[in-house]
């Protein structure tokens, strides 16, 4: 009897479990892909995890509101929390760590935070939490606080120069810029400043990817002092800012000498265009240096340094962190300082941000250039026998003079040879012939080319633009022929049985046209257009017997053809 | 540019498996006794 009851209850329990289990299993959502941890706007908050010390955390990280504390300790000053060393506040935390090791650091953190909180609460002031859970919040576990890197661009640089000048009456770059004399015995005297040798902070304060014996020596010292780019720049900037903040506040310039995180780390960066007007820092560099590597095969290049300054955001974007001339580190054979890259590659490497060719290729990816250029394979020194003009464009060998070709114009075009409008009839079975505004496009391209100094310089003559579409067509040869350089001259309508990879006419058109439209961001007639569902219509005007009708007809045919084949008969659902 | 190559240790679990086997061998003794216990 009793046992019967038990069985009954057990079976009920099982029934419930089964039904509930089935329900939940059926409604389970796939967990195949992991989702991004949520990012929050870093409003002067800091995520304290220090995984480089603690490794895997036992408790969730702490989202620390730095802004609040800054507000609270206005009077006391930063050194209440941050350690101070010979008048310079080092912006790291905790103030004092007794000895090495995880636990020591952890305790230091807890002591410094909690003690202070306790203290101020005993003085019954409004203060922060003292219990674990109030700082280590489970729900903030996955949150990422990322501060965008601050870019000390020319605008900011220029501003600092001016301000400091009016402060001290003369411009003293030594306030920020310094170099480290590795041979100096006395540590305190090792930091020296010498005009004209300014470098980027990254030169010494960014570790890891540095080359050359001397520099590595310097960086090791910097590393020993824990002056990576982050702490170095904070120390450098903030100390100075703190020094002058007060008096600017008196003057009523609230924005001057910012000390809050979000003031500098805005995530907003000035574009080249915005920076164009700013005067670049003068490190007595030449305007048009003549680059001529001794006993190199190529003629020298007169390099328009000035215009390139105007077209780049930082010096670093060409010179790496050091502001030396290229050939100091890149010799004909390559040296360790230059990462073993020889001078030819240093200038011509296609995929580097620092080389000429690389940077120019980046430029070619810009909307207005990419239309033509994404079809043209990138060229570097490894390209077999490039045209003579291609090299001489830069390697003129003429010292101190750059022959700027005059802007292109369509004036000289033979109007009856160069059609105003071309009709393409390849698909005329399905569509009306599509009209191709040949001349307008040329004009457009000419305009684009003329707008950019670089384009004007390298395109040279109108023929270059034609080659954007009429690739592989040689001007002289075309001149003699009386037929225009049609696509169908090379691209056959059918597949080439021998070489299936050869582009046939149909795809040649579509890829050329649509590719260009895509790259130049011309919505009309680009494959982006397919989103809106307005597809062939943009280029091919519909005609009777077009796709829709054809679909209909074909459908009937299939149905008919299937009728007499029982096994293949298809029945619509 | 795609995911890095990471070494996947296919034998990572062997140790645990052997542990389970040991546990099993011990438990089976008790269980066997339990099964063959004289019915009361």
């Amino acid at each position: 009897m009793n046992r019967k009851l038990i069985f009954f209850l057990v079976s009920i329990a099982y029934l419930i479990l089964i039904s509930y289990g089935l329900y939940s299993v059926y409604t389970v959502e796939a967990t195949l892909r992991v989702k991004e941890p949520p990012k929050i706007k870093p409003e002067n908050k800091i995520a304290i995890a220090r995984t480089e010390i603690f490794g895997k955390l036992e408790r969730p990280q702490v989202i620390f509101n730095h802004g609040k504390h800054e507000e609270a300790f206005k009077k006391e000053g930063c050194n209440t929390c941050h350690p101070e060393k010979d008048g310079q506040i080092l912006f790291d935390f905790p103030k004092t760590v007794k000895k090495k090791g995880k636990t020591a650091v952890m305790n230091a953190y807890h002591d410094q935070c909690i003690d202070c909180h306790k203290k101020s609460s005993s003085e019954n002031k409004k203060t922060g939490p003292v219990n674990c859970g109030d700082c280590h919040k489970e729900k903030e576990k996955a949150i990422q606080v990322k501060y965008p890197v601050f870019e000390f661009d020319f605008y900011v640089h220029d501003k600092h120069v001016k301000k400091l000048k009016e402060k001290i009456g003369k411009d003293d770059c030594g306030l920020c810029h310094h170099s480290y004399d590795i041979n100096e015995e006395d540590e305190t005297l090792a930091l020296v400043y010498e005009k004209g040798t300014e470098e980027s902070c990254y030169y010494c304060h960014e570790f890891g990817k540095k080359r050359g014996p001397e520099l590595t020596a310097i960086t090791t010292v910097a590393a020993k002092k824990g002056l990576d780019i982050r702490s170095a720049s904070h120390q450098q900037c903030l100390n100075c800012h703190l020094k002058y903040k007060e008096e600017y506040l008196k003057k009523g310039e609230k924005e001057a000498c910012p000390t809050e995180c979000s003031k500098c780390h805005t995530g907003k960066y000035r574009t080249v265009a915005e920076l164009e007007k700013i005067v670049r820092p003068d490190r007595d560099q030449k305007d048009k240096p003549f680059i001529d590597i001794e006993n190199s095969k190529m003629k020298g290049v007169t390099f328009d340094h000035k215009s390139h300054e105007a077209n780049s955001k930082t010096c670093r974007s060409c010179h790496h962190e050091t502001l030396n001339a290229c050939d100091t580190c890149h010799s004909l054979t390559g040296k360790p300082e230059g990462n073993g890259i020889n001078v030819a590659n240093a200038y011509h490497h296609v995929f580097s941000e620092h080389s000429c060719a690389g940077c120019h290729n980046k430029k070619k990816e810009e909307k207005k250039c990419a239309g033509c250029h994404h079809f043209i394979p990138a060229m570097d020194v490894e390209t077999m026998n490039p045209k003579k003009e291609t090299c001489t464009a830069c390697h003129s060998g003429k010292k101190d003079q750059i022959a700027m070709p005059k802007p292109l114009s369509t004036a000289g075009l033979n109007k009856d040879k160069v059609k105003k409008e071309v009709e393409i009839k390849v698909l005329e079975k399905e569509f009306e012939p599509s009209k191709f505004p040949h001349l307008d496009i040329i004009d457009k391209l000419v305009k684009v080319s003329n707008d950019s100094k670089m384009a004007t310089y390298f395109h040279g003559n109108l023929q270059t633009l034609c080659e954007g579409c009429h690739h592989r067509s040689i001007a002289q040869a075309e001149a003699q022929k009386d037929t225009p350089p049609n696509c169908k001259n090379c691209h056959m309508t059918a597949y080439d049985g021998q070489n299936l990879n050869r582009t046939r006419l149909l795809s040649a058109y579509h890829r050329q046209c649509m590719g260009c439209h895509d790259k130049m961001g011309i919505e009309k007639g680009s494959s982006v257009r397919f989103k809106e569902g307005d597809r062939c219509g943009t280029c091919h005007k519909k005609k009777v017997g077009g796709p829709t009708e054809i679909t209909h007809i074909k459908n009937q045919n299939v149905a008919k053809q299937n009728k007499n084949n029982i096994l293949n008969v298809w029945r619509p659902k | 540019m795609e995911e890095l190559f990471t070494y996947y240790d296919m034998f990572a679990t062997k140790g645990v498996e052997y542990l389970i086997i040991i546990v099993f061998l011990i438990v089976i003794l008790a269980f066997w006794k339990f099964v063959n216990m004289k019915p009361f």
């Binding site: 046992r3 019967k4 069985f7 057990v10 079976s11 099982y14 479990l17 089964i18 289990g21 089935l22 939940s24 299993v25 059926y26 409604t27 389970v28 959502e29 796939a30 967990t31 195949l32 | 990572a12 679990t13 645990v16 498996e17 389970i20 086997i21 099993f24 089976i28 269980f31 066997w32 339990f34 099964v35 063959n36 216990m37 019915p39 009361f40």
Partner: protein, 422 residues
């Protein structure tokens, strides 16, 4: 068999003189005589089962006419296999496993103690194959080609399905031979009985080998669904799991079925069998328990081996644990304790739990944990017609079972002339 009507249990007195059949004519008359239903017809069981069966047959016709898809079944492109394979075939075969396990115990290990139930079990197994595995014909889309694996010139010898098909086919023959002495006794064919009796051991051993292979083979069918079955369930050792689980699946069905048939056909069973019965069930319970114990540890090892531990802490993980603990470990100990206290009701309850567990396990492989990541809209669950057809198949099998038990010396003692010592 669907035509014939049921009798309540009524004592059939020992047939001491069995029919002597000379030619087909006699046989035909005899069969006609036997086909006539006995006893009263309106028992509740019939009243319920008969309409369901008939309805099922109608639906089967529908399925043949309109194809597999809706409205007959809910199968879709995501779930090619549903209830008919998952339950009828895979689970049904697992339940039929009792036959080969008992044959092993009785004929190979000569544990005479279990001899009284061997015939019922073999008959049960045979019918299970005939009907449940026969259900595959319904599920096969192009059933008119069913002979292709047996006849023709393209045998996919590399296919697991090929093995399974052949093993089904051969095992049915083996099971038939194992059972055939009973039929011979029923028809009173003394010579045939002798011959067949001699063939038994061979048939048994052949049968056991086949069973080992196709029980695991059913698991091996799932091997190439690696990317679809949830990692907790998919391992390279599915075949072994299937084989081991088929042992206690079959035995617990034997316990369950035995307990029922002892109620229904009680009067046919002679005294000493009745006496020994409890002992038999307890023995079976012990075997089940040990098998399940081993199975549980296999599961545990594989869980680690497949690096599947992290998945445990998820909905599927809980479902998995529920299956392994709730339907393997718990019944395992219930079996043991039941055996300890000689308490049949506990054992029966455990048996039922085990069977449920097996069903869940097999269904997990075929459609619950299979393609577990597709949205609910594309998930599969059995359609009513599917269920009814399944039910009607099972009921038909029960009817056939009952018919044979009532006619042939399955539970009751074989005729005197047939009792030979082995």
């Amino acid at each position: 068999m669907a035509g014939e009507k049921l009798e309540t249990v009524e004592i059939v007195k020992e047939k001491d003189e069995s029919p002597n059949i000379k030619n087909l004519g006699d046989f035909w008359n005899f069969l006609k005589k036997e086909l006539i239903p006995r006893g009263n017809i309106g028992t509740p069981f019939n009243v319920i089962s008969l309409p369901i069966m008939l309805l099922g047959y109608v639906f089967i016709v529908l399925r043949l006419a309109y194809g597999l898809g809706k409205p007959v079944t809910n199968l879709n492109q995501e779930y090619p296999w549903g209830l008919w394979i998952g339950f009828d075939v895979v689970t049904g075969v697992a339940f039929a496993g009792g036959a080969y396990v008992l044959c092993f115990i009785v004929y190979v290990l000569r544990a005479e103690k279990y001899h009284p139930i061997i015939r019922a079990t073999v008959l049960n197994g045979f019918l299970a194959y005939l009907f449940y595995a026969g259900a595959i014909v319904l599920d096969i889309g192009r059933w008119w080609n069913i002979y292709n694996p047996m006849v023709g010139n393209n045998f996919g010898v590399n296919a697991v399905m090929f093995l399974v098909a052949w093993h089904f086919f051969l095992y049915m023959i083996a099971a038939l031979i194992e059972f055939s002495p009973t039929i011979a006794e029923w028809l009173g064919m003394k010579r045939l009985r002798k011959i067949l009796g001699a063939m038994t051991l061979g048939a048994v051993i052949f049968g056991i080998t086949l069973s080992t292979l196709h029980q695991s083979g059913l698991g091996a069918l799932m091997m190439m669904a690696k990317s679809k079955i949830h990692p907790l369930w998919f391992t390279e050792f599915i075949p072994i799991l299937y084989f081991v689980s088929s042992i206690f699946a079959g035995l617990s069905l034997v316990i369950f079925e035995g307990s029922i048939s002892h109620k229904v056909f009680g009067p046919q069973i002679d005294e000493e069998h009745h006496k020994s019965y409890d002992d038999i069930v307890i023995g079976l319970a012990r075997i089940c328990a040990v098998a399940m114990f081993g199975y549980f540890f296999l599961k545990a090892i594989l869980l680690v081996h497949e690096h599947a531990l992290p998945y445990l802490n998820s909905t599927m993980g809980f479902w998995y644990l529920f299956e392994v603990i709730g339907f393997v470990l718990v019944p395992c100990f219930m079996f043991v304790s039941g055996a300890q206290q000689k308490n049949l009701s506990t054992i029966k309850f455990a048996a039922i739990l085990t069977m449920l567990g097996i069903i869940l396990n097999r269904l997990n492989y075929t459609f619950i944990a299979y393609n577990w990541f597709v949205p609910l809209s594309e998930k599969y669950w059995p359609a009513p017609m599917e269920l009814i057809i399944t039910a009607s198949i099972i009921l038909t099998e029960i009817w056939a079972f009952r018919w044979m038990v009532n006619r042939m010396p399955v539970l009751r003692k074989p005729p005197a002339w047939a009792i030979e010592k082995h």
